[in-house]
Amino acid sequence: MVNLRSGLLLLAPLALVLVASFAIPLIMLVPTSFREYSPGHGIITDGWTIRNYLNILTDDYYREVVVRTAWLGISVTGLCLLLGYPVAYLIVRGNPRWRLPLVMLVIFPLMLNLVVRSFGWIVLLSNRGLINNLLIDIGLIERPLKLIFNLTGMLIGLTHIYLPFMVLMLVASLQNVPRDVEAAAATLGSSRFHIFRAITLPLTAPGIISGSILVFVLTISALVTPRMLGGPVYQVMATLIYDEYMQLLDWPSGAALSFSLAFATVLIIWLSSRMTKRWAGLA
């Protein structure tokens, strides 16, 4: 066993890097988020304000982006869960011969660069993209469907990118469900559907929750894919923060948005980990 002192020593290098490159810049941003920004002049350094935070709740545009981001997070999480559970179930309970190929299939997209994957979706989804051309050619539609630079495009792209994380979390929790426990339910009169509902699903609840947290947090903080598939106009919080900083140079607003997003993320993780503890306490 490692004692406390050597434990701290082992942690020290990473802790130093994190403090220098993450904690200190973050703390330096706190005062900025309470300053006023004047277009043309920059940050006004005399006097403090909480208007940057109030704007997020009161300004119609900001509010729309916040709601959209939350909705996007929930939808992507739900889609990943619906699409991922059957795959995870097949990997764990299917023919062992198919396990490795299936896991490789799930992991493979992760080895590809994020920009490349997002760009792939642009090729497929744009007005003159593969899907629209195909649908027009076989006569199903006359005008191209709007599949990109809106919610649809982001949903498709983000679900695709975060699905592997969900599947891997679900595989881990399904592997912890003993076969004998399911077999016991079968001998006691459970149909296959009832076994799933009464035994498998509740016992994989911890995996469902941690997979959902992971996908939700990654989705609401994603920048590259929403930028590429949402275009310059269709914004989520991460792209908005980027624009506030880099395009408008409105650092105070950007900082306030960043802290709000970070706070929301921490709140969600905390709430769900409490939920997991209560469920896992029974499981």
């Binding site: 077999a183 016991a184 006691l188 016992l203």
Partner: protein, 353 residues
């Protein structure tokens, strides 16, 4: 309650025959053990009866009804697993109620039958606990209560006691015996522990390599094994080989055994099985004429018993188990002794192959 009948039941895994054309009938209310070393096919048979494994051939009938093609939930059976397999997210009450709810039991009838089952395994007052709050023995009792509560027509046990420590195992064995006497449900019990099988069962079915070696009462299996495998598997036998000469078996020059019954031709090569507890050691002075001379090679004290390794004049060794009563003569390595082997306890079987 019903009887169980297996006809030419077979299971092949990738060319390996785990169970080969097994025919077995268990009478109504009878308690039968499938006994054998690991890999003999006993668990495969149990799981095929439960419907968890699909047989490659043959049929299974429970109470005259062919269930071979039915899924487990349509067979009306109770199965107790080696791993207990309790539902970890449910209380003891809900675990036991699970099968009853599947049979549409509700309300006070459900409650009384759950409590009845818990009382049978002496776990009243534990209904609101979760499985992880119970000891291994208690968990196994919950598993039994869960299996018997829906009153199955057939009860199956898959090595239910092998995860428990020795002391608990003895207690649970008595518990099981009591339960079996009270319920008289047709029971198939799979184990590799011969003491368990012999003490619990009405009949024991000894298996080896997917084939039934002998299906008999515990006494018959112990006293009159039909095959060399059963003779060497049951009890703690010493094995010698010799040649039949008239009414006796000559092991080698000067070493002659006289079994009470001999069913072999003159001159045939046979295996003689002698249980460790069937031999008495005699001091040099009071040897009878039938006693076989031997020397003590090793002595090992294990509490109630002392085990001696004795060497015969032809060099072969036997293990002899003697009670370690203070009054009994104590032998030391190097002593010359006489072996008094009870003629009834010598099992002579023709050499196979």
């Amino acid at each position: 309650m019903s009887d169980l009948s297996l006809q030419r039941l077979a299971k092949t895994y990738d060319g390996h025959q785990a169970v080969r054309d097994v025919n077995l009938t268990i009478g109504e209310g009878e308690f039968v053990s499938l006994l054998g070393p690991s890999g003999c096919g006993k668990t495969t048979i149990l799981r095929m009866v439960a419907g968890l494994i699909t047989p490659t051939g043959g049929s299974i009938q429970i109470g005259g009804r062919d269930v071979t093609a039915l899924p487990p939930n349509k067979r009306n059976i109770g199965l107790v697993f080696q791993s207990y397999a309790l539902f970890p997210h449910m209380t003891v009450f809900e675990n036991v109620a699970f099968g009853l709810r599947r049979k549409k039991e509700r309300g006070s009838e459900l409650e009384s039958r759950v409590n009845e089952a818990l009382a049978l395994v002496r776990l009243d007052g534990y209904a609101e606990r979760y499985p992880r709050q119970l000891s291994g023995g208690q968990q196994q009792r919950v598993a039994m209560a869960r299996a018997i509560a829906p009153r199955p027509s057939l009860l199956l046990f898959d090595e239910p006691l092998s995860n428990l420590d020795a002391k608990l195992r003895d207690e649970m064995q008595i518990e099981l015996k009591r339960l079996q006497r009270d319920l008289t449900i047709t029971t198939l019990f799979v184990t590799h522990d011969q003491t368990e099988a012999l003490s619990l069962s009405d009949r024991v079915c000894v298996m080896h390599d997917g084939i039934i070696q002998q299906y008999d009462t515990p006494e018959e299996v112990y006293r009159r094994p039909k095959t060399a495998f059963v003779a060497s598997f049951i009890g703690k036998p010493n094995q010698l080989s010799g040649v039949v000469k008239g009414q006796s078996v000559e092991i080698s020059d000067g070493v002659v055994l006289k079994p009470s019954s001999l069913d072999a031709k003159n001159g045939q090569t046979v295996d003689v099985f002698i249980r460790q507890e069937a031999v008495s050691l005699l001091a040099k002075g009071n040897m009878s004429s039938d006693a076989v001379a031997a020397t003590i090679a090793l002595r090992s004290f294990s509490g109630a018993q002392i085990q001696y390794v004795v060497r015969l004049s032809n060099g072969s060794e036997l293990v002899v188990e003697a009670p370690s009563a203070a009054s009994a003569t104590n032998f030391e390595p190097g002593d010359t002794v006489g072996l008094d082997i009870r003629p009834d306890d010598m099992i002579v079987l023709p050499r196979e192959g």
